[in-house]
């Protein structure tokens, strides 16, 4: 197989073939669910890769499919495979917050989650916040309070604010500061962001979902 050849060429890592030879773990029928299955002491364990594997993600209520290598982050899968470019790739090291998405109700950095790991979970990106033609109250509040300058950090901030308000509908200013500590804005629009959170909290940031 091409993948095996590629692995062997590099002279590092193990090819699928040698992996099986060395380990004595037996390969069972390959499944079409994005992974192979190996047997470990009688039980079946999913193995993804090497090479691209099909994945299915539930994003903004829709089931989307893609083919990615197992190492690919959720962020890169969103941006490069699924045309969802709202989450931004800035630091790619779990620091700046531009890639913030919500997984099962919790704000996380999409650059620090494997795409294959995010399967079977409910993922919300900034693209999923609008309800029809209406902006989410957090999005409206960002506009009303000039909470962006260059705007590159804004989608991550909006998602982080939404997740924060879902958990803290009536936050104190101190809670807002701490709750949004995981997002950076190089233009320094933090005052505007705080004002936007205050406005969205009053209007019910969680109303639209």
């Amino acid at each position: 197989m091409q993948d095996d050849d590629k692995m062997n060429e590099k002279g590092s890592g193990l090819s699928r073939r040698t992996f099986l030879k060395v380990s004595g773990i037996s390969l069972s029928v390959p499944l079409v669910m994005g992974h192979r299955v190996i047997k470990v002491s009688g039980a079946e364990v999913k193995v993804f890769g090497p090479g691209k594997v099909p994945i299915q993600l539930t994003i903004n209520g829709k089931n989307l499919s893609a083919q990615v290598e197992p190492r690919v982050t959720l962020l890169d899968a969103l941006r490069n495979e699924l045309d969802l470019t709202g989450a931004k790739r800035v630091c790619d090291r779990a620091t700046c917050g531009s890639c913030t998405v919500i997984i099962d109700g919790k704000a996380v950095y999409a650059c620090a989650v494997l795409a294959i790991e995010a399967q079977g979970k409910s993922i919300t990106t900034v693209e999923g916040l609008m309800q029809g033609e209406n902006l989410h109250p957090v999005q409206q509040a960002f506009i009303d309070n000039d909470a962006q300058q260059c705007g590159f950090c804004t989608p991550g901030f909006v998602v982080a604010c939404k997740a924060f308000l879902d958990k803290n509908p009536n936050p104190t200013p101190e809670q807002v500061k701490k709750g949004l500590g995981g997002n950076l804005c190089r233009c320094g629009t933090y005052m505007g962001v705080r004002a936007a959170v205050a406005q969205a909290a009053q209007k019910g940031g969680r109303r639209n979902g």
Binding site: V47, E69, T73, D76, D92, T100, V108, E117, G182
Partner: protein, 305 residues
């Protein structure tokens, strides 16, 4: 080595050298039960890299600084989750996230420093994914939950196909980023003795900013006072040595002593000498010695008031 071009290999953080031996296309194994994890580790123990919340490893992986051809993703192994009351101690599953620690009433009540430490780790997005087991195994001297485990005399529960064993947290590390973990072993849980009613505890982290900062120095401590004397004290410090450490000389000086201003000043100087910090991109050796002494002084003043 063949260069594999893909969107994720381009645009890596500047200044980062591509590891010459790393696999650009590693496999990921996703077991769901502990038995399967044990099976995989006994077969492939030396070769696989265990990944949990990914808040440390994914950073290295994205920067192409992580040398691993096989990952063992344990995120779906629910047996490693949960906080249980065991009477004198709390058993915290390795996959317990910082968010879960912060929200746990058991932790709030019986190990308040652990809540304080968890709040200082990264920010919400990190706290939602980062795990206490990951903090332990990543073995960074700057891991912010670790001084708490040191000061509380926690125990690490380790498992493998060969059975389970318990190691005192303060004997878990054998050097910089090295621990007693064997290649086929996994950290299952950490057992944290409950704070006694008569004990006071303390946590203080010094970083560049409140969120997303890696500690310049970080201290957790607990002490018991009776009649103005310190009957027992334990001090755990991070970012000031190759591993998170206790401060035995300082503890020895303080144990049984009357809490006077002179003693506090002496303790401040002893701990500053006792620790072995280095100068690196986050801080200087001098700063770390001075500030660690001052942070201890802060705790001692709290105790005397």
């Amino acid at each position: 080595m063949a260069t594999v071009r893909s969107p994720t290999t381009e645009g890596r953080p500047y200044g980062v050298q591509l590891s010459t031996t790393m696999s650009l296309d590693p496999t990921v194994q996703s077991p769901q039960t502990l038995a399967d994890v044990y099976g995989l580790l006994s077969e492939r123990g030396g070769a696989v890299k265990i990944i949990a919340g990914g808040t440390d490893l994914m950073v290295l992986m994205n920067a192409h600084m992580l040398d691993a051809a096989e990952f063992l993703d344990i995120w779906r192994v629910d047996e490693l989750r949960g906080i249980t009351d065991e009477g004198d101690a709390l058993r915290i599953g390795a996959l317990t996230t910082y968010t879960q620690l912060i929200k746990s009433e058991l932790i709030q009540q019986h190990a308040p420093s652990l809540v304080a430490a968890s709040r200082t780790i990264g920010a919400i997005q990190i706290q939602n994914r980062g795990t206490i087991g990951g903090n332990i195994v990543n073995a960074s001297p700057a891991g912010d939950s670790l001084p708490v485990l040191a000061a509380y005399d926690a125990e690490v529960e380790i498992g493998s196909a060969r059975g389970t064993r318990t190691v005192a947290f303060n004997q878990f590390y054998t050097g910089y980023r090295r621990s007693v973990l064997e290649p086929d072993e996994l950290v299952l849980a950490v057992r944290v003795p409950k704070l006694k009613e008569s004990e006071r505890d303390f946590f203080w982290k010094v970083g560049t900013r409140r969120a997303q900062a890696i500690s310049k120095t970080v201290m957790a401590a607990k002490a018991q006072i009776s009649d103005g004397r310190i009957s027992s004290i334990s001090i755990g410090v991070g970012s000031v040595a190759p591993t998170v450490v206790r401060a035995p000389k300082t503890e020895h000086l303080l144990t049984g002593a009357q809490l006077t201003a002179t003693l506090m000043e002496e303790a401040r100087q002893i701990i500053a000498q006792e620790i072995t910090p280095i100068t690196d991109l986050r801080s200087t050796e001098h700063y770390r010695r001075t500030v660690t002494g001052n942070v201890l002084l802060k705790f001692l003043r709290q105790l005397s008031s």
